[in-house]
Symmetry: C3
Subunit: 424 residues, 3 copies
């Protein structure tokens, strides 16, 4: 194919191949989020949910190239912000590989938000918010932890904060923005009854939801494995831990449902795996497999419990983005300290982890609240109630997701039919 | 990215990258199986089928880490069983890469079973069975053939048995377990009429079925290509053979349907490709492309004929798992001997291949029969008939796969509407 | 895993790994096309569309191995045609890797055609046409541009024609064949009213359409990144440009819809991304990121405008294959000249690009017209009108894509319900 290159060039080519393959897998997570979120929404909003996932990444990728990458990975003199590398042009090939990989990470943080806000958020408002997340909220926090990857060093990195692939940097940040959005929006019409009681609103396609889960799981091998930023034998234990934690997350969610004598919902099951993946993301490179299993198992419990907690405080998070990405991100970041390979159960390490977790919340949540509040005061955040009842597919896109099928206009609070059950 | 490493480290890093990418593709086959099997089932069981596929891998992956991997790849003094490497911890990174890759293989063997048993198997019973397959049935046979990959040597390997990526080790083992399960369960309600005549029960989403087929085909490039266990130029002919055999499998299935003047069913077509892939799995590394085409073509014929044969003996295999994985696994293993590159049509080689095929059946089928019989006598294997008629989504998970759509409660034996056809 | 090899072998192994991974991604684009095209068709044709996508690749891959690869990459003494390497057997492993990768490219060119001709083309007629495209039309043009990759040199390559990964070689060729097919077929029944006015025929599953778009976008990282034909650091800027152009294509399509005060259709949005990807394919290796953004942005405009233009001249292209692959292929090939990195805006380069674009049209369009005309005069190209109204799933395959669901027999010209809209 070409002249033989020397070993330096070989390594560079190999790093490029791995970063590209891993970034492609992380890109594919966008499809996973789109299907998972669309599948958990009603048919009348299926197109709108997917449009948001498809296009937030488009506007956001350009915003990240324009601004975000420089804020996050530019030369970081203060530890609080990068200051160059905006609109990267005319750089080394490897710099472009890094930008490509990091763009996919930024897109992940942004798209987490859409699920919590599904079925009632205006399309243009959502797009503006996702540009703010990818261009500003995510990269600034990211510079505190990962800025050192290129030059300078973030202040959290300097303290020894461990977040290998972004339980906090990507997932908690996304989760807190999602929480802010869901709070500013308020719940969907009829989600809670007059006495505040929860009414079930079933997602329209659980097979698509599950396919979304499989795709996210697949993508995570690139997410965590690619965070080595180079081809290296250490990828092996990283992806093994990733897989075991996801499997254990499912087991944890299923055991929790069994203990509370709930039916074994596929929604909780899939979210259990994603919760396990979120949790192992911080510590996958610095944990023994048995601890990865424990990290995932507890994440599965948190997913089921956290979903119940959010409904208890009447925050309507359509897909469970806050428990899965926010809460499990916190747990995973702490677990990365608790189970740190060469020095497990060190309170010093755990304190730094806790500090990083708090910093993420204090940075992202108020700023996201402000962003959504400003949007709601200007261009308008929430669809009007006629549009919400009719479905956003019609009101925003004048399309139907499934025009050839008789669909049931789901009224909020419509329950699945009751009847006998056949469980062991 | 890092200091330049020496050539040994480079090779190790490259092997890791390839094993990881290949394992990710094999992982994705789980989504392929889930969609293919759910698509071939009725809407009322669509969630249950996917839950089984999503979670068998979770429980099974942990079982394989705990027990199976050691049985299969641990030090093998006798040739019949590995005896260490259980709960692998604190090992070389490459060992974790291997475990990661092999876990995905074990999950494949287990998940094959679910399709044959769809629409009438209780969820907890199925999960117990899949743990037995991944933790015991699959790895013990595997140790006879592939145990030598790490240390010691399996007795079939010692005889020169050729099964490069597992036509027998993975697919026939899975197929025979599926056959045992379908026999112990018995057919779905109404699958065969009072006179034993076959009644068509159509799958609820053929587009999902076809997507499952595409994903399986994609994953197979990792399945066969990754079985080199290292980055090597020999991957090229392996994946080419894989692709050509799959294509020829489709051509074989279509020609068979044309010869018998049947309509060109997408179900048989997709199964034809999977049959071709199963068949080439044993010999993909030791066959010329023209022979790969022949192997696939015959597999396509076997898929259509084998599906008819199973119905003739009234074994209700919902997705055709037994003909596709069992029968085509046998054919492919024999073909690997018949078309062996340096010595084709040698009766000595074919005899050894036949011995390995027989050993797989004699090990897996009775043991799986026993497992399913024990389950049926204890926790119960088959759903009660009210649950089966209502659908397992409701009875086991209290969910509906498609709550926003008017679905037709398919009565067993409901035929597609008859009428004129427009075929050349 | 193996003895350490020398640097030459290492490079070869690494090239193989990258080519294999990239080819697997390109293969997966077949699933993307199948879903996108099936999602844009009515439910009654959903199986037929997918069958065509699933099987054109099968017959065509064998035809490409048998004939096409040799025509395209065989020794090319005249610059107009390769003359050996047919039925490749007993070659170097790397040759098989190349054949594997190039087979996926040929399959892409062929499958583009199916979308434009959906919902009214007989299955066997389509298969014959796709064998001609993969075995003859595509590889002969390809030999003019890429023949030099192995030995000899194509006449367009000799002139300096730039088409790195095939905006013209793959996509325009496919687009012109699609245009010829749509013209020979004529529009679907009722697509245009008595006065020639356009009637909307909505696709049956927009979530599947969007998933198809995500998969195509993912596959394109292999399509463009793999066209290096080796592991190399230059893959980084190539895939970054690919991603930015796709994102900009979406932005371009959305801005166009906003300017013309149209609803924000997901169909145009997804096609905008594919148009951006098609356009950047020629110049992705020789363009700065800012120019990649411009290339994609304009492609998004072309997609929306070109779709309107085709309807204006009453060519019924069901999925927009002609504007997306044909028109954006032309634009992208010119853009590769206009934005050529070391010498942008050179009229000499642009002239050669224009020549290559014209040559593609003059070769592919008349030959495809002739092929489709011959098919229509012999075995018959178009389904009879009873079959078309009933749906090709029933008439050709005797299957229903969604037998458990009440579907609406869409009459041509059925509009989505009208009503108030809620856009900013």
């Amino acid at each position: 194919m070409s002249e033989v290159q020397n070993v330096v060039e070989l390594k560079l080519a190999m790093d490029t191949v791995w970063l590209t393959a891993a970034a492609a897998l992380v890109f594919f997570m966008q499809a996973g989020f789109a299907l998972l979120e669309s599948g958990m929404s009603r048919a009348k909003n299926s197109v709108n949910v997917i449009m948001k996932n498809y296009t937030d990444m488009c506007f956001g990728s350009i915003a990240f190239w324009f601004l975000g990458y420089g804020l996050m990975f530019g030369t970081n003199h203060t530890g609080w912000l990068g200051m160059d590398s905006f609109m990267l042009t005319d750089a080394e090939p490897m710099d472009f590989s890094l930008l490509f990989f990091q763009t996919m990470f930024a897109a992940t943080a942004a798209t987490i938000v859409s699920g919590a806000m599904a079925e009632r958020t205006r399309y243009p408002a959502y797009i503006v918010a996702s540009i703010v997340v990818m261009g500003l909220i995510y990269p600034v926090y990211g510079s505190w932890v990962w800025g050192s990857a290129v030059s300078g060093e973030g202040w959290l990195a300097a303290l020894g904060f461990i977040d290998f692939a972004g339980s906090t940097v990507v997932h908690s940040i996304g989760g807190w923005c999602a929480l802010a959005g869901a709070i500013v929006l308020g719940p969907r019409l009829g989600r809670y009854g007059p006495g505040g009681e929860l009414r079930k609103i079933a997602g329209h396609s659980l097979p698509l939801l599950a396919l979304g889960g499989f795709i996210l799981w697949l993508g995570w091998f690139g997410f965590n494995g690619g965070s080595t930023l180079e081809a290296d034998a250490s990828i092996g234990p990283i992806v093994l831990n990733t897989h075991l934690a996801a499997a254990a997350g499912v087991v944890g969610a299923i055991l929790t449902m069994m203990v509370f004598r709930q039916p074994l919902l596929v929604t909780h099951t899939v979210n259990g795996s994603i919760g396990g993946l979120v949790a192992i993301t911080a510590g996958c490179a610095t944990m023994e497999p048995a601890f990865a299993l424990a990290t995932g198992l507890i994440a599965g419990v948190i997913v089921v419990g956290g979903t119940g907690f959010l409904n208890f405080i009447r925050v309507d998070d359509v897909v469970g983005a806050v428990p899965v990405h926010g809460f499990c991100g916190v747990w995973g970041t702490l677990a990365a300290g608790i189970f740190y390979v060469s020095n497990p159960f060190s309170s010093t390490i755990v304190m730094v982890q806790f500090l990083g977790v708090m910093a993420a919340f204090l940075w992202a949540f108020p700023l996201a609240l402000l962003t959504f509040w400003l949007i709601s005061r200007t261009i308008g955040l929430r669809s009007d109630s006629v549009a919400e009842q009719r479905g956003l597919d019609f009101s925003e896109h004048y399309e139907s997701g499934y025009p050839d099928f008789h669909t049931i206009q789901m009224h909020a609070g419509t329950e699945a039919p009751r009847g006998g059950r056949d469980r062991a």
